[in-house]
């Protein structure tokens, strides 16, 4: 099997080749995989850096934003010279410099109900690096409908969480049937973030993606890992697919993507 890796690949990925659970077969699998990272900010930075370093063959980057000075406190994919540039273009350049073997596909727009299913269809796994509840529900619904595994991560002030949504084994709606009241949304510039927190969450997302792609280890399916960075505690909470879930339950009501802004906005009035 090693014969199919080039000499340069064998050298670059040497630490993977000696890992019992990956080895040359696992590395081949990664090289043939296509991963979409939605949101190239706090979580997308470490996730994309470690997935590119690991040799995932194709990385799709989706983000509509430009790099801002206030991003640099935690978005380590970007640098001062990239301020004002599109995050996907700046990110693509940084990832290419790290590993030119990786094909980067740039999607310089926001993921919406109109484009999500087409966008996700082209990838084997999706990493959620978004920072709004509307986008999280949208991605979870879209990943389920498209039949793709979704590695969910989110951060709020000093806390973060990670879990994997594999179609039929639980989704974001099973975990959180209702969005929180409007105003708690963490993309607000009024909400603080501790710099290394997204590093921990984004790197765990990268590891989970590698496990899902290669079929190795025990992915965080039906388990959500919760981290409090100031208390430095981690705890795991188990959840199950909810038979009453409107998306992935026994009698699903949602058969297509809906209006997620309205869904989140309405949360306060329900």
């Amino acid at each position: 099997m090693t014969a199919s890796l080039t000499g340069r690949q064998a050298e670059r990925y040497a630490r993977h080749l000696s890992l019992q659970e990956l080895g040359p077969r696992g590395q081949q699998k990664l090289l043939q995989s296509r991963v979409l990272i939605v949101g190239v900010g706090a979580l997308g930075s470490p996730a994309s850096l470690y997935l590119a370093a690991a040799g995932v063959g194709t990385l799709g980057l989706c983000d509509h934003d430009a790099v801002r000075l206030s991003n640099l406190q935690r978005q380590v994919l970007h640098q001062t010279a990239s301020i004002g540039q599109s995050k996907v273009e700046a990110g693509a350049r940084a990832l290419h410099a790290l590993n030119p073997e990786v094909r980067i596909e740039t999607h310089p727009y926001a993921v919406t109900a109109a484009n999500a299913l087409t966008l996700l269809a082209g990838y084997d796994a999706i990493v959620d690096g978004t920072d709004t509840f509307a986008a999280r529900y949208l991605l979870s619904d879209a990943a389920y409908l498209a039949g793709k595994p979704l590695v969910h991560g989110s951060i709020f002030r000093i806390e973060g969480q990670v879990t994997d949504f594999v179609p039929g084994q639980g989704c974001y709606r099973c975990l959180y049937p209702e969005p929180p009241p409007p105003g708690l949304v963490s993309d607000s510039p009024a909400v603080g973030v501790f710099a290394p927190l997204p590093g921990i969450i984004g790197c765990i997302q990268a590891a989970e993606t590698i496990k899902l792609l290669t079929g190795r280890g025990d992915p965080l399916i039906g388990r959500v890992l919760l981290h409090d960075s100031l208390a430095m505690t981690f705890r795991e909470v188990r959840y199950r697919r909810d038979p009453a879930c409107p998306l992935c339950g026994d009698r699903p009501a949602i058969r297509g993507l809906v209006d997620y802004e309205a869904f989140v906005q309405a949360a306060g009035s329900r």
């Binding site: 470690y50 501790f194 921990i200 790197c203």
Partner: protein, 268 residues
Amino acid sequence: MNGSRHHRQQILAQVGERGQSRLRRSSALVVGLGGLGSPAALYLAAAGVGRLGLIDDQAVELSNLQRQVLYTEADLGRPKVEAARARLRAIDSELRVEAIAGTLRPDNAAVLAAAYDVLIDGTDAFETKFLLNDVAVLLKRPLVHGAVLQWHGQVLTVRPGDPCLRCLFREPPDPGDVQSCEEAGILGATTGVVGSVQAEEALKLMLGLPGVLAGRLFQHDGLSGETRVIPFPRDEACPVCSARPLIADLGRYTEQVSPRGHLVKPRG
């Protein structure tokens, strides 16, 4: 103020303007600029720490790029500390970086450690890990220890008076009892998790915040997805941090500790 570099961190109740300026006046020595040092240095630079000392004697190799995200292909063959300085200053040009192309040894450790507020263990050599621990205890400098192998990683923090690495592991394992990273392999993302936890710990130490991993060991297993923090006690017979230490004088370190970090047994 929304546009300012550290705005999102400064508005955290636990940081504030005072905390942010405290970070700007703080410094850390990152020992080893590889899998752990990469994310630790990136996040400390991004967070607004004022001064970073970087110590490593190696040049960037192709096999590093599978996990050492501080570097690019253009850095191949370049000393790691120089490539790291350029990358970190590209994030924040106000960051002061002291690049030391060398290794931490018993004869330079005291001077180097004394020049920084926090020590960060990013090495993969057991003797350096134990040297750093001993220096931290004897010089009363806070240390954030980290280690990784395969899918596993660990972190603990040693402030003056806290249980130390030798309370948990008295000596390094014997050579031959453990596999090296080359032999056993390593998942890049695991180094990212551990190095980021080390950065969190270092920032909390600089900010004087509670909740650090003092007398607690962070253990992460990326393969099973299990992460936990377990308490550990002080070893009353610890060779370095107990009331009657075997290792008490850095000036005579090589008489007390072997080049591989083992205790030199008293004669007779």
